[in-house]
Symmetry: C2
Subunit: 388 residues, 2 copies
């Protein structure tokens, strides 16, 4: 295990009806920017519940933050937030709305130029002047409700960039599993795959003498395999929904990755597929993940074999055989949820994708991704080609 | 899974040499009360390292906080802290020193009377005026470095009482595994048993539809079984020491118990054995734990069988058979570390213990401990008698 420094200050309010704690968790003098997405919260009653809790506060609304939140949209909220002199952001939505809120938290007080520069130059973590965020999660998936990470897309350049900062951890997040009941089925499927892949990014590297981190990761993976298909088929089951929601949060609240190598190359490549073709984030991970493990097999086979044994229950065979079986089991798990795992199943326009991504990564000087930089741009090209 | 609200704001600085981050984590204007234990930190160099880091701060020293920190000792530190108008507490030590620091954090600013009243009346969580704490852990065991709990003994009444408050979570804790090298062997043994029992208190109840919490608990238990005996025999191994230290912290930093029933009756009974006979805390847990599971078998057998299967690898037999085997395996694990598991092996004066504890619990109105109050005072008596 390596050295690390870590703090996760987010207060979690978990359970049915916890929105009733919203008011008491917002500072008394707050001038609130209330941000949300496409308007589903106006249909399922969450908007009304939130507004009821916010009675007495000064509230500025900004709806319409889209999946893969866009810089162009968010800059309108920046202007509004500045104009209204807001000092608290309430994000009601899924990972996209919360990721957007994190950008706003940094961008509204940012005076040094275009806020996009913080993402390009990776200076977000250095910003001192940041607006606090509270969240009410409406879609379990990304874990953004309990971490300091965010990913923003820029329409004009078809780019999708991530940033992380300790200052943008939500002050509180309300996790009410009953939100799962009204979600479109595909969003539940995406949540299962997204959280599963979040764990894999922090686990599927090489044995690193970190048994607690390994077993926590395996515990979440096993739980998602056990309950993922059930929650997709039984969205009304509040117990399943609660465990699904908690799995998604735990998958990316930081504990799994402390002191161990991480990969994240699947995400980096996947982001390009979303930026280029608008494919749902989770589905890009289902396309790329198994192929990344196939191409990087030599480096990852020991951990893949451990995954095979402990999570998939595959006890027979050589290290290589177990490792290969684990990759197949994983791809099969994604497909069993109804998700396609080939790029050509999403777009007819896939032939140049490997070259485009290769060139983008080269331009950005992303020459070695993954643990220890082993995923070179040549490997990236090979992974994407294998994903056609 | 039940509803819960939880926040753990402690910043962890984990790794060899992390004491070099001490200065930068203390507020610039701090007037520090530097508390420690019996003086081992003066022999192993940690005192000198800390003092070097504290150059430039106003520092008031208070050494001599004993194992099972005493109210009588701590009240001297309260007087000193008040006199010196300290505004930050640095605890360098194990769980006893850190628990003591938490009492000081509440007691120094307490103006309503005798600080002991906060423990008797369980009002610690309500105190607003609390002095911030930083810690440098020298003994992995209790998890106090990353939680808001503390246990204080009062010599004059032979009592040992626990309290918990969100305000006494350490602001930061420095975890350097190399401290394990110079510990007396028995303290390493005690740390393994203490953390193992901390997990059991939060896990060994009944199946509660909380697969993530279960698997995290099982992950720590499996890790302690795997590395516990090795770290006892190889205190110089920094990798083993690091995983042991991290297991102890994760065993009681709150995540395992969110949304699930907990027991803690073993601790309540064990505290009495320490208060009465001065038996090491961890050893009281080794005496009581297995007998509590024997007496409460009907209520706990389903979870005991799950523990047998997933942690001890016992796949054969009925639920009852697996559950019984798990109890035997656990007691055997404690004994394999060289710890005695009968009260009569510690004191010749044990015959009245069950009656004494029965009467104490009756006086305190502790009529039903454990999950759902199932551990009645009659059961407590039976458990203690079985432990002779």
């Amino acid at each position: 295990m390596n050295s690390f420094e870590f703090r996760n200050p987010t207060k979690i309010l978990f359970g049915k009806g916890k929105i009733a704690q919203l008011k008491s968790n917002i500072p008394a003098n707050a001038s609130i920017l209330f941000v949300y997405g496409g308007g589903s919260i106006k249909k399922n009653g969450i908007y009304d519940q939130a507004m009821q809790e916010l009675a007495g506060f000064e509230v500025t609304e900004f709806g319409g933050i889209e999946a893969n939140p866009r810089y162009e949209t968010l800059m309108k909220a920046v202007a509004l937030g500045r104009e209204k002199k807001i000092n608290f952001i309430l994000a009601v939505g899924g990972g996209s709305v919360i990721d957007g809120a994190k950008f706003l938290a940094l961008a509204i007080p940012y005076e040094a130029g275009d806020p996009w520069d913080m993402l390009v130059q990776q200076t977000a973590a250095k910003q001192k002047n940041v607006i606090p965020i509270g969240t009410k999660l409406t879609l379990p998936a990304t874990g953004s409700e309990m971490n300091g990470s965010s990913v923003i897309s820029r329409e004009s350049t078809r780019e999708k960039l991530a940033f992380g900062a300790p200052s943008v951890y939500p002050v509180f997040s309300i996790l009410d599993p009953t939100v799962v009941k009204t979600l479109p089925r595909i969003q539940v499927v995406n949540g299962v795959i997204d959280s599963f892949c979040h764990v894999l990014e922090q686990y599927m590297t090489y044995p690193a003498d970190a048994p607690i981190q390994d077993r926590f990761a395996e515990g979440i993976l096993s739980t998602l395999i056990e309950i993922g298909p059930k929650v997709v088929e039984n969205q009304q089951d509040e117990v399943l929904a609660g465990n699904f929601m908690w799995a998604c949060t735990q998958a990316l609240n930081g504990w799994l990755s402390q002191g161990v190598p991480t990969d994240w190359a699947t995400h980096r490549i996947g982001h390009e597929l979303t930026a280029l073709y608008g494919i749902d984030h989770a589905q890009t991970l289902a396309i790329i993940g198994p192929n990344l493990y196939r191409v990087m097999f030599t480096h990852k086979k020991d951990k893949l074999a451990q995954f095979a044994e402990r999570v998939w229950g595959i006890k027979e065979g050589s290290t290589e055989e177990k490792a290969k079986a684990a990759i197949e089991k994983t791809a099969e798990f994604f497909r069993s949820l109804g998700v396609k795992t080939k790029l050509s199943e999403y777009t007819p326009d896939y032939q140049q994708t490997a070259d485009i991504i290769y060139n983008r990564f080269k331009t950005r000087n992303w020459l070695g991704l993954g643990e220890n930089g082993i995923v070179t741009i040549d490997k990236v090209k090979e992974i994407v080609e294998l994903s056609y």
